[in-house]
Symmetry: C2
Subunit: 295 residues, 2 copies
Amino acid sequence: MSTLMQSIEECLPAVNQRLEELVPLHDGLTATIHEAMAYSLHSGGKRLRPMLCIFTAQLLGRLPSYVLDIACAIEMIHTYSLIHDDLPALDNDELRRGRPTNHCVYGEAMAILAGDALLNQAFQTLCRVELPAEILLEVIQVIADAAGTTGMIGGQVVDIQSEGKHIEMDTLRFMHEHKTGALLRSCLTSAAIACEATTEERNLLDCYGYNIGLAFQIADDILDIEGDEETLGKPVGSDAQNRKSTWPALVGMANARKTMESLVDEAIQCLDAFEPSPARQTLVELARYTIERKQ
Amino acid sequence: MSTLMQSIEECLPAVNQRLEELVPLHDGLTATIHEAMAYSLHSGGKRLRPMLCIFTAQLLGRLPSYVLDIACAIEMIHTYSLIHDDLPALDNDELRRGRPTNHCVYGEAMAILAGDALLNQAFQTLCRVELPAEILLEVIQVIADAAGTTGMIGGQVVDIQSEGKHIEMDTLRFMHEHKTGALLRSCLTSAAIACEATTEERNLLDCYGYNIGLAFQIADDILDIEGDEETLGKPVGSDAQNRKSTWPALVGMANARKTMESLVDEAIQCLDAFEPSPARQTLVELARYTIERKQ
């Protein structure tokens, strides 16, 4: 991965290969947990988060390899959150991307530990990234804050506490901004820090990240109502079944769509300040993808 | 905490206060998870791990404040591991230190997230410690490696996989070294790195850490057989009930005691190379405490 990559398709094998290197299968006493970690890590994910990191680096004129390990660490955090979210005590989901969820294959105990291990492995990976130490610490801060109660976990908490309740738009917005938005946003910010972007560039990228993060989650709400079960790889209607408040439920489907589309437009506008380049075009496509995806 | 502390009793309030500052209670949407995190973090723990960090710093001629936040981060990791270990899918314990376990108070979903959040908060704390960046990254590496599948989680996996099975001494040793030993050992190593100890000092402290870590876990096995339920704050006999292999089960109670005592003697011998000081004396006491404790 030493040259510029023009497309997501070119990039995907490099991400998958690096994830295999960073979370390898093992023989010996801890074989099963490594298998459980790899099972969820390599389940045909779209690698949206790694792509955001990598094409941000390219947009800023750096090689994709520059942020590859940061990208993989964020994917580990994303994967751990899915494993824990699917647990019986949380969403109790049995299917994810068309395959049995981690605890259905490895049991609840192993799934809890595999999630823990992926979160921990993300930090084991991050603190070894070859960047100047001061910059790397700032990268770790941004990602850790995006993953914790100040970010993703904060959103998950509000999510489980909101089940079966009517919630206000402020609460729903908080939940969506934090549960999915925070980590997506950190892909942009961490890559910008790693690539020593200017403050202006960093703000623009952060703005792009914020907008696609929220749009992504509104799209998720819509997919859970209108999606195709087979393409989605999991049952539709689970939000309604778990009596979860969603964007369409609060403002109606037409308004939800409108908001989601404006958010993506705003995200794309944030990129206008950058010179036209294949990387900029890919980030435009990724922004559109967040709401046009079928799964 | 700006002067040398002569005793564990003097140190304890400083650790507890700093933990309260680092994991504060919150109003607002994420109030409950902060309460759940604080519930387990402030449950009358002995703070063995923070004490080991702090008195290592003092042994090396530094102020205790030098490693206070590292000490607190390790305590967060320890606490997260207890919350997840107690879950119904793992040890299914309802009492810990005489109080209902986290999931019994806050429910399983919140307990899983509170554990996740404490692990994450440990890294949020670590990457903000005021140390030169290069040194801090080495500290984070050591702690992350001690917490992951290469350390504590590796031990937990072997633990759950060994339930109800006869296991060999090699497997039991691996489990004990990793499940409790790795994180205890990282208290010494991380403090030594933070205080810029020489390689010889670092090796001696690592040796002390290894020995007390293993001794601690053998003592745990013995307490689960011979301990007093009320002092212990949890039911005795849970290892037998969960059909877990223990050190006394494999080699007999008398041999288990002998091994445990030799390990502590070896640990104390590692301290001989350091000048006599109150800190050295406290580390001797902490080594003895690991096997003389009643809970």
